[in-house]
Amino acid sequence: MTTLILRRLILAIPTLFIVVSLTFLLMRWAPGNPFSNERKIPPEILAELEKQYDLNGTVTSQYLRYMGKLVHGDLSISTQYRNRTVNDILAQALPVSVLLGGLAYLLALLIGIPLGAYAAVRQDQKADRLAMLAALLGLSVPSFVLAPLLVMLFGVKLHWLPVAGWGSPDQIILPVFCLAIPFAAAIARLTRGSLLDVLNLDFIRTARAKGLPEDEVLYRHALKIAILPLISYSGPALAGILTGSLVIETLFDIPGIGRFFINSVLNRDPMMSAGVVLVFSAFLLFMNLVSDVLISLLDRRVKIE
């Protein structure tokens, strides 16, 4: 176990290094300048600005200086949000995105697991078919279609919920729901399939044979094993939540990390883009490691190396 964790962590460092370097270098090599997007500015002022943001000299030397600061945990100053450090912006935006994504994943679990279990118990009956059709529909409606439609309906037409913004509880409902739907659908399908597998295992037959009530067999024995695949699903799912929240944050005007990221890429802000990519990748690598460790601790059948 310790060697697994160590090996993964050692592998993570070159991965993060490559990803951050790629982002920074592409941003600087690509035509376009973080300071002159809208109008041309005099070359003297541009030179002064570049110097101020430590983006003067050759791209290689800029990159080396950036990486030098990065090693010490300094993500430099954002060129787009002038006078704010990337560390500062991330510290403010990250909790917003984590809250949004976390609530969405929680909601997805709360919808997905019961729906999947309900369908599995009624395998091949009408209720099962209907539940799985609903899940397939949930997977097929992209969040960028669902979200604006719901905004039109509940925000503009019915005035039940605010159209956008972040801060009050009623502003959280729509974005969390829209972000959660595709994951709830995937979780429902996964739970159903896995529960059907488990219900065919010997220990379930034993539990039934010794006269346990069906509810107890289902909830105390079967479901506990059947949700194991969800743990390994959570790694990739979190990647999906991260990318999904780019759209949701843009659409609902939520001051999360995703909105900052999109703006920074479109405005050629190398510091902000590289910083966000670093945080996203590190977070994902870490969560994948956690889910792998958890699954090998919980499931005796799985042995990771």
Binding site: M27, A30, P142, F144, V163, T243, L246, V265, L284
Partner: protein, 297 residues
Amino acid sequence: MKTFHLVLRALRQSRWLAFCACFVVFVVLLAIFGPHLTRYNYAAISDTSLQPPSFAHWFGTDLNGRDLLTRTLYGARMSLLVAALGTFVSLTVGVSYGMISGYAGGRVDSLMMRLVEILYSLPSLILVIILVATLEKPVTTVLQHLWLGSIPPRLVLLVVFIGLTEWLTMARIIRGQTLVLKEQAFIQASAALGQSHARLLFRHLLPNLSGIILVYLTLTIPAIMIDEAFLSFLGLGVQPPQASWGTLIADGAAAINPIQLYWWLLLFPGGMMTVTLLALNFLGDGLRDTLDPRGKK
């Protein structure tokens, strides 16, 4: 062809599956011929802007007075084109990677799978955003040098990079199947007869993988369509006046305002896309139940 017969049997057995297959064919035909069948041009601006659906404009008109039906059909063409080409990229990479990894086995296999594992844990679409946003000018230059200046550079970027994000699952599944197949007698016999690796891979392994390839082909197409629309929604798709379902949906979402509802801008392209994705996913699921040797769920 065994695969072909299995597909036909599956379609005969399930009315819904057959219906979805027909619907997908219908959407493809609409995408190819539709834009020429309407009375309007997809890029023609008129002064009748933001008209609700009527007999003259079945889907209404957009902000610039363009006919939304024509634009939705044209968008279908763009979305399906990106999906088809992107799936081709992802399929080629995924199948060859998986086959080589499984066939080679040993150290090569574990190294190749280690790489897949690393790529899995990267936020691939976020990296695609950076690549598409920064590489537009270089790709334009390259295309012009190749006398291909008329191809939109964004199209090339989308096809290549989205295709390169969706091959991992395919590679894993093909590798697993290859591992199983290469132990079987007919492969061993061909190897004993002294056939070359290339012949074994292409003549003997590939045909036996065709069923599973077809299943994941059907499931990769909707995944790539969603990715394309996602990037288009964020402003990284094809450039106006061209349109894909993603850019049309983005236009519809941008037109949301507290005073007047332009629901048709969102509902028609979004609805078309959702229904098409649903049909493709349903088809993919159905084919997986028949063709995936790893058993039915």
